[in-house]
Amino acid sequence: MTIRVLFFAYLRERCGVREVDVELPEGASVGDLWQRLAARFPALPTEPPKFAVNRVYVDKGHPLHDNDELALIPPVSGGNQ
């Protein structure tokens, strides 16, 4: 199955990519995909960001399906005001 992965903000800048398509075996979870990404993009932090699948926050155990859109969500703008 193919998962579209979206990078934002400092992750986009660090990894130098806005989106990539990743091939994964059926039954893979968000955590499995994160392992794959960590290997491919050494600039990713060891501590994972938050994840959203199809625009809803999910945890690492969330099962993926073909054509899902996974977004890596770094800490949002919060604070300061």
Binding site: L6, F8, A9, Y10, E13, P45, A52, R55, V56, Y57, A71, I73, P74, P75, V76, S77, G78, G79, N80, Q81
Partner: protein, 148 residues
């Protein structure tokens, strides 16, 4: 049935239009919060902010916040707007307007709205300060200093 509208925009935020949108003959009070770019942050002299969004999800998250407001309080209307791109000092980056029959609810829901927006809506802020720039996050681990 609560009225609601949610927007991200590259234009300036029109708070008068937002107040008109949440206006209602049944409203006794409206609370509006406007977040603006401040010229200082944690000792740094800020020159401007720049916002980037995961737009489709940002709008969905705003809607989820509005739905939760409708569940928790007796509110008449909610309007949330976030500006994207460059926001100079003194200009508005985000605004939340809530109208209700009574001010208690208008204040509580507006406060909940902005607090939650700032922790769950996928919009990121890059601070351009004198001497560098960095993405703002809770841990400040994402800095790229111009000083090296």
């Amino acid at each position: 049935m609560m009225k609601s509208s949610y927007r991200v925009t590259s234009d300036g935020i029109d708070t008068a239009a937002m107040l008109a949108e949440v206006g209602d003959a049944g409203a006794g009070g409206t609370t509006l919060f406007v977040g603006t770019t401040r010229n200082e942050n944690e000792g740094r002299i800020v020159e401007r902010l720049e916002y980037e969004a995961y737009e489709a999800m940002a709008l969905e998250e705003m809607r989820r916040i509005g739905d939760e407001i409708a569940r928790r309080w007796r509110v008449i209307a909610v309007c949330m707007v976030h500006k994207l791109g460059v926001v100079p000092i003194g200009q508005a980056s985000v605004a939340v307007a809530v109208s209700a029959a009574h001010r208690e609810e208008a204040f509580a829901a507006c406060r909940y709205g902005i607090d939650t927006l700032k922790t769950t809506v996928p919009i990121w802020k890059k601070e351009f300060y004198r001497g560098g720039e960095h993405w703002v996050g809770p841990c400040h681990a994402h800095g790229v200093s111009g000083r090296g």
